[in-house]
């Protein structure tokens, strides 16, 4: 397992400019073709973990430890190195699809821009590739979507189109930051199904969420974070059935109570 790890973090820490720790010596592996769910309450450092891997954590923050992506060390990598990875090898998907599209440009302009950048295609070829990617994401009539502005389509379509944009260059790793939180259950299922398909094609996905239902549906393994540290990690079914740490138990109980289910024994 460890030999084929695509992303491997060891004693990875992140602190703010003023020295407040955000992540404390985090360590985990993500294998090729695996979805790793990361759960934890707000402020536990999940989103900052994803952003810091791409060198986009808050200004002035510092990382230490090691984060290996294939052959590349991400911790302390130069902006240039990181930029060659962004979008091409590591992609990211955000929570709110309305905020992550530029409101002034059409979907087509933004999709084609990315396609041309990463796949080195001409305008016509890029356009074709984008329409193909939209239809892969089961967005019917991709060609007509290209001329639309982000506010003109539904939230679900926006997020599915954003997912199509993220994986346009077929990156090895997708960092998904609460990608389903803003969606209705039907769309949520579609996005998750698409992620499962991508995983089956060999893409690794780091799925940050606070929805244990989402984790139960698609994640192969789960990692529970509290205040910047990992309190428990393991295979999804096992962890959800019998959590070892108190914090994971509390989290699960809270989720079950909301569903109207009895607490765990």
């Amino acid at each position: 397992m460890a030999s084929e790890a695509l992303l491997s973090l060891r004693k990875y820490s992140l602190s703010r400019a003023d020295g407040t720790p955000v992540l404390r010596e985090v360590g985990f592996d993500v294998s090729r073709g695996e979805i790793l769910g990361i759960v934890g309450e707000s402020g536990s450092g999940k989103s900052q973990l994803l952003l810091s891997l791409l060198g986009l954590a808050m200004r002035g923050s510092r990382v230490s430890g090691s984060a290996r992506f294939g052959e590349v060390e991400l911790a302390g990598a130069t902006e240039h190195t990181l930029r060659t990875l962004r979008g091409r090898h590591i992609a990211m998907l955000f929570q709110d699809p309305l905020l992550s599209w530029n409101p002034c440009l059409t979907l087509g302009a933004q999709l084609i821009e990315t396609a041309r950048l990463h796949l080195v295609l001409g305008r016509a070829a890029a356009r074709e590739r984008v329409v193909q990617a939209l239809s892969d994401a089961q967005l019917a009539d991709g060609a007509s979507l290209l001329g639309r502005y982000p506010h003109e389509i539904s939230g679900g379509m926006r997020q599915r189109a954003m997912l199509a944009l993220s994986v346009l260059a077929e990156p090895g790793l997708l960092l998904a930051d609460e990608p389903t939180t803003a969606l209705d259950p039907t769309t949520q299922r579609r996005v998750l199904a698409r992620m499962a398909t991508l995983r089956d094609r060999g893409m690794s996905i780091l799925l940050v969420t606070h929805d244990l239902g989402v984790v139960a549906q698609v994640a192969d393994r789960v990692l529970v974070m509290q205040q910047g540290a990992i309190v428990e990690q393991g295979d999804t079914a096992t962890l959800l059935r019998s959590p070892q740490s108190t914090y994971a138990r509390t989290l699960l109980d809270a989720a079950r109570r909301m569903e109207g289910l009895p607490c765990l024994p």
Binding site: R86, G87, L99, W101, P103, C104, E113, T114, L117
Partner: protein, 266 residues
Amino acid sequence: MKVPLPRVSLALLGLLVACAVLIPWLSPHDYFTPDWDNTELPPQWSGGHLLGTDELGRDLLVRLMWSCRISLLVAAVASAISLVIGLAWGVVAGYVGGRVDAILMRIVDVLYSVPFTPFVIVLTVLFGRDLVLLFIAIGAVSWLDIARVTRAQTLGLREREFIIAAEVAGLSRPAIMWRHIVPNLLGITLVCLTLTIPAVVSTEAFLSYLGLGAQSPLTSLGVMLADGAAQMRSRPLLLVMPALVLVTLVYACNRLGDALRDRHGL
């Protein structure tokens, strides 16, 4: 609620711009040839001098429209210069941040503190009185406001998710600035521009009034005001008409700028 655009101001502005553009083809008279047989005519329908002529027999209405043409030309060129410099300056300072931001904005602060009128006088002493110089002098000063405004807006945009998303997608900095930040600044720069134009028109009139701008026989609103002021007791129309045109032009632009600003909720 959508703020309606001021129709009267738009119409007046349109009329002035149309006159200024079309005047060479509209009138049988030109603005510079003296006509010694028809000096100091009062307004009259017959003879084709609707507002009369000045002391050299030149048609007042035609000269007014030519003044408008020059003033608007200065405004357009100076605003275009200030837009290009100001927008680029502000976006780079705001987006790149850090030391670059500090250096760029200190330069703006320094330029702000240069007293404008003595600066222009020094320029005219050094390079002679020239209309092109006027463009440069006004353009060099009026971009400062646009730079500050766009920088402030860019600082806000930089933290927006779609900019981070663009960074995550691996776009280069110039691409993000040009393709993702600039389009989002168009609203505010348009507002800035409609408020810069009247300021530039007034500045041009002021400098020309002092004799630092357009030179005779070329005319501008400031030149006409200066000429008119010299004979305001005997022929008040020579002062009143250019003043009226200047006020109308500046008022209409300001009114339009305010309406646009309210529209964009700024």
